[in-house]
């Protein structure tokens, strides 16, 4: 491990020291300039020496003739140029800047800073780029829309751009420190298409394997029941797969569903499902930006072994009131945003409620079905106050709830709150202080009677964060910060709730842990073509009391081997763990249309999640790492090639290799949920995954398409499973193809289709069968696991979006989305069951069978073959 750190730092050291600080001018070159115009001389010098020149064309007499041939020092040639043009030069990095003679004494660098916002709503834009053509470099606005760039004095041509907005191109004279805010105008969909994919962003500024979702597209991806959802959009991205119909569990680059971190305004979410996965907790109306990181992780992010999905809420329109909403077949939503004080403060409130349960009840009134209710509701709220141009306060909150009632009533949901203070400390420093509280609870209330009880399981998280963004030069910036995160897992509290109940109270001991992290990252433009981000997170993890530590005399931590128990009082450290997470991201611009990126990231997860298999989607037990179950660590290496074929078509290829230590599995999910010493039921191991991903994204005429193809392989080795040999986990799908094609029929009508092909996933089939206790049971062999695959899965969905006629004088805008989910599908199994099948006909019931020639236990695939049409009306005014 040390060797790896050493190599990384050595690489950086070598690269840095090879960087010619002042030696350009001493380099000897052969030239043959005979009566050549100055312009050609500069171009030729660039070709020979690789030096780039920065100048304003109206400042230098480009037509002046130069006479020089033979071998000269570059400085001599530059002197000659300056003599002819009455100008002077300065060397900045590997660039030569020409400027007027009288400037030379005052040659200086100045900082330009400010916020990049949406011109209509004043909403800050995250990750917008400001690019300086002469310097061939730029900066990206941070999570709060702030940018800062330090440049040599001069005149620049610059561009400010952001996906979905019209780019702003302008001339800028920098001769003092400047504060300049930019307002970008949103591209109006359907009326005039402007280049959406900014080539500058694609090629050099992003972290490898990261993607920013274009939220405007979320409605163009056909969704089940037409529920607009960013999880559907995430699934259409390369390297991201879902395992089952209607589940929002994501498998990213061979990771399990638990290896992803979902954050809403930086607050962790512990369950993102609504209605068992048909919808997610992210209400698209309230969202501003969604980023997924799956290869190179910026140092601000920790905890996600496979991916981090960073979702940011809108801040609220600062200039005028907007009402937005949608009416769908299973849910409706409404959002209001507007200024509290114009240009100073604003608010946003967005709510959703589904009525699926009411519909089901209406249709099943007479059937004697024990179903009572099923719905979800949620509220997003955010407010921000601009105190002055240096200070801004944000408050955001979310509360969501799912209710499912039959004889028993289940409810679960997240509640979170975030308070944030943005402070511009000086020209080059941006400070962000955040307090985050997140709470998740799962509740069950049984039907009344002698067995009546309530079950509660909760997860609490408290986070304090201090981040600094430092912009020290036009090609150097830093991120540093400190985070304290305290978590409490209370897996089970059972209490009787009625007088007659004979249930006694029962509680599993809650677990507490704290993670203290410091992080630092430097982003430096080393040469014109090379940008390096290097940094690390330093983590200290503590499992804290009150708690009990069980002492075992054997290494398999079996219940029978407990020899002693130690009680720890409140806040005493039970277990401590320290680690470093180095991060490196290198971008090399091959030419103006292609780039090569390489990255290495280590990520650590300090708790382990286990899903009660029978619950599938809602109940997890989270176990804090301890001396028995170490934290999980992943090392991800990736390499990518990006190419813009032309203004409209871009493509990329990425390969990755991921190695994970400390993978945990269980074969005793029910016991794990109800026992105080989880280590007895947890198996430990390691695994690896590798794969290759291709993406083509483009626009030809009225067509717009996105094709993602990937191939991956995942293996894991768990002590106690499969004879301790490597085996594929069930979510190892192999191939994954996702093709989204949009066709703009007219200004108002957009047709889009989504085609999915997924390799069959692994399953563990029984090897035999037997009868005990009058039941036919399948016989399993887990010394040879997951040898069978389900057949590959195909699905085609389609959606048509019809926008209302744009009328300049009317504020009301509406569109109608008609969606057919599952237009065509094959092998779309949501599950597999074993049943006694009569005469080879799965639909034949015992009483109708008549003569039974044959009855066998057969594996049956369950799928929903019919398509799901839906219609949603969206509006805003």
């Amino acid at each position: 491990m040390l060797v790896r750190y050493f190599l990384i730092f050595l690489t950086i050291f070598l690269v840095t020291s090879a960087y010619p600080q002042t030696s350009i001018s001493d380099k000897l070159i052969n030239v043959d300039f005979r009566d050549k115009p100055l312009k050609d001389v500069i171009n030729e010098l660039h070709d020979i020496s690789g030096i780039s020149f920065t100048y304003s064309e109206n400042m230098i007499p480009l037509k002046a003739r130069i006479n020089l041939s033979g071998q000269y020092k570059i400085s001599t040639i530059l002197d000659e140029i300056c003599r002819q043009g009455a100008i002077q030069f300065t060397i900045v990095g590997d660039q030569v800047v020409f400027h007027k003679k009288h400037d030379s004494v005052n040659y200086k660098r100045y900082t330009i800073k400010g916020f990049i916002t949406d011109s209509l709503t004043n909403e800050t834009l995250i990750g917008a780029s400001i690019y300086f053509y002469q310097l061939k470099t730029g900066q990206i606005s941070n999570e709060y829309g702030f940018y800062s760039a330090t440049l040599p004095k001069g005149n620049y041509k610059a561009q400010v751009s952001y996906v979905g907005y019209k780019p702003l191109i302008f001339e800028l004279e920098i001769d003092s420190n400047l504060t300049k805010d930019f307002k970008l105008e949103p591209e109006i969909q359907g009326i005039k298409e402007i280049v959406v994919k900014d080539s500058v962003i694609n090629l050099h500024s992003e972290y490898l394997g990261s993607e920013r979702l274009n939220l405007l597209e979320s409605g163009n991806i056909p969704a089940m029941f037409g529920e607009p959802d960013i999880v559907g959009l995430l699934m259409s991205k390369v390297g991201v797969q879902s395992i089952n119909e209607g589940t929002s569990g994501l498998h990213v680059r061979g990771g399990s569903v638990h290896d992803n971190i979902f954050q809403l305004d930086e607050a962790p979410l512990f369950n993102i499902n609504h209605l068992g996965g048909i919808s997610s907790v992210f209400n698209p109306d309230a969202l501003k930006a969604v980023n997924i990181y799956k290869g190179a992780f910026p140092v601000e992010y920790g905890g996600g072994l496979a991916s981090v999905v960073d979702v940011r809420m809108k801040e609220g329109n600062q200039s005028h009131y907007v009402v937005k909403g949608g009416i769908g077949i299973i849910s409706s939503r409404l959002m209001i945003e507007g200024p509290i004080k114009k240009e100073k403060s604003s608010f946003l409130i967005s709510a959703r409620r589904s009525y699926l349960g009411d519909l089901i009840r209406a249709f099943t009134k007479e059937s004697g079905f024990s179903f009572k209710n099923l719905y979800f509701s949620d509220i997003n709220a955010k407010s921000n106050i601009t105190l002055n141009n240096r200070n801004r306060l944000f408050f955001s909150g979310y509360s969501g709830n799912d209710i499912f009632e039959e004889d028993n009533a289940f409810s679960w949901g997240n509640i979170l709150g975030v308070v944030r203070w943005n402070h511009v400390l000086n020209e080059k420093t941006f400070v962000n202080t955040t307090f985050i509280r997140s709470h998740y609870s799962f509740n069950l209330k049984t039907s009344p009677g002698y067995n009546a009880f309530t079950w509660k399981s909760t997860i609490d998280s408290y986070t304090g964060k201090l981040d600094f963004d430092l912009y020290t030069g036009y090609n150097l910036s830093h991120s540093l910060g400190a985070v304290i995160n305290y978590m409490k897992f209370a897996p089970i509290r059972i209490n009787p709730y009625s007088e007659e109940s004979i249930i006694t109270s029962f509680e599993l001991e809650p677990e507490q842990c704290a993670v203290y992290s410091l992080y630092y990252e430097a982003r430096k433009q080393l040469f014109r073509n090379l940008k390096v981000n290097i940094g690390s997170r330093f983590n200290l993890y503590q499992k804290l009391g009150p708690g009990t530590r069980y002492i075992y005399d054997e290494n398999d931590y079996s219940v029978n081997d407990i020899t002693d128990t130690i009680r720890y009082p409140s806040n005493q450290v039970i277990y401590r763990y320290f680690n470093l997470e180095p991060r490196l991201n290198i971008t090399y611009l091959l030419d103006s249309t292609s780039s090569l990126k390489a990255a290495y990231s280590r990520t650590t997860k300090f708790f382990h999640s286990f899903r009660l298999n029978n619950f599938i989607l809602t109940l997890d037990r989270l176990v804090a790492s301890s001396q028995y179950i170490q934290p999980s660590e992943s090392d991800i290496y990736s390499l990518g090639y990006f190419k813009n074929l032309n203004r409209n078509i871009s493509c990329s290829a990425e390969i990755y290799y991921k190695n994970t230590d400390g993978i945990t599995e269980t074969m005793y999910d029910v016991k794990l949920l109800t026992e105080n010493h989880p280590e007895s039921y947890i198996l430990r191991g390691n695994g690896y995954a590798y794969g290759i991903e291709f993406n083509v994204n483009g626009k030809v005429g009225r067509f717009k398409g996105n094709l993602n193809c990937s191939w991956s392989r995942v293996r894991q080795k768990i002590e106690g499973i499969n004879n301790n040999k490597y085996y594929p986990p069930y979510y190892d799908r192999g191939q994954d193809v996702n093709f989204n094609l949009q066709y703009r029929l007219s200004k108002r009508i957009l047709i889009s289709t989504n085609t999915i092909f997924l390799g069959g996933r692994y399953i563990n089939m029984p090897v035999g069968k037997y009868i005990v206790d009058n039941k036919i049971l399948p016989q399993y062999d887990y010394t040879n696991l997951n040898l069978e695959k389900l057949p590959p899965y195909y699905r085609v969905d389609m959606a048509v979006t019809i926008s209302g006629k744009p009328r300049p004088l009317r504020r009301w805008k509406g569109n109608l989305e008609i969606c057919i989910y599952n237009l065509y599908s094959k092998n779309k199994y949501i599950g597999l069951m074993y049943r006694n099948v009569l005469n080879n006909n799965p639909d034949l019931a015992q009483q109708d069978a008549g003569f039974i020639s044959n009855q066998t236990l057969k594996p049956l695939g369950i799928s929903f073959s019919s398509f799901i049409p839906s219609i949603t009306y969206n509006f805003s005014f």
Binding site: G276, G368, I502, Y770, Y782
Partner: protein
């Protein structure tokens, strides 16, 4: 078993769509690996008791069970009694002389070829049966019209958690079997337990209720069996064979139990 996640999907889908079941015909059934299956029960009722010795069959096979003849089956107890069981018919071995007694520990030994499978089980106390009643219910909500059986019981006076298994028969056919744990370990508690059986009876039907006491090991075995049967719609994760109390990798169980049988005729 409560499974809200999947239930939600099924509720939603059954409302809007229809489910389709397909047989995996071209499915490569894993190479069949034969395994011994033993099912032995001894109770505090009068003998005979039976021990079945079987072997698993291939998954796609049309036969359901395969009995093993010529096994050596021995039952002994902690009082020093021992009996070598006679094979009554193929694979079914009969125990005649040993009688189960509450609190005694019984040992089962089965020898098939060179392999020996052993198990031990102690007879745990049974729930005290107060009364079993039946009543007529008209169609309402989820209930269909018919006779329902209701059973009242009390916890035996022990300081431990008690486990039971109920087999319920209608006119001689097993219609349900369930397991229960009485989570109260306080012996002084005399709280009554009542069990409503959801099954419906008609006039002149015969209802037979068999109650068995279980050890914790037995209870967990049947819990695993139920899990496996309930996991129809489910293919994630690792399916486990129910954890047997018989050694040497045998499937099945050995149960020594206090037992009570109650018969009711609906009139």
């Amino acid at each position: 078993m409560i499974r809200p996640g999947m239930k939600i999907l099924l509720v939603v889908f059954s409302f809007i769509l229809y489910a389709c079941e397909e047989i995996f015909e071209d499915f490569n059934v894993k190479e069949y690996k034969s395994n011994i299956v033993i099912e032995g029960i001894i109770t505090d009722q009068d003998p005979p008791y039976y021990v079945k010795v079987m072997e698993t069959v291939s998954f796609g096979d049309s036969i359901r069970e395969k009995y093993i003849s010529g096994a050596e089956v021995i039952i002994s107890d902690n009082e020093g009694k021992k009996e070598i069981l006679l094979m009554e018919k193929e694979g079914i071995y009969r125990c005649d002389s040993i009688k189960g007694k509450l609190g005694n520990t019984y040992r089962l030994e089965v020898r098939v070829g060179n392999s020996i499978f052993t198990s031990q089980c102690k007879i745990a106390p049974l729930v005290i049966v107060d009364s079993v009643i039946y009543y007529f219910r008209e169609k309402a909500g989820m209930y269909n019209e018919g006779y329902y059986i209701h059973f009242f019981g009390r916890k035996p006076q022990t300081d431990s958690v008690n486990y039971y298994k109920y087999n319920f028969y209608r006119n001689g056919h097993l219609i349900t079997n369930r397991i229960y744990s009485n989570l109260i370990s306080d012996a002084s508690s005399s709280i009554e337990q009542e069990f409503d059986f959801e099954e419906i009876f008609k006039l002149n039907d015969t209802a037979d209720l068999e109650i068995f006491s279980l050890t914790e090991e037995n209870f967990e075995y049947f819990l695993d069996v139920n899990e496996l049967v309930a996991s129809d719609y489910y293919v994630f994760g690792y399916h486990r064979n129910p954890e047997s109390n018989i050694s040497n990798g045998a499937l099945g169980y050995f149960l020594a139990s206090a037992c009570k049988k109650i018969r009711i005729i609906i009139k």
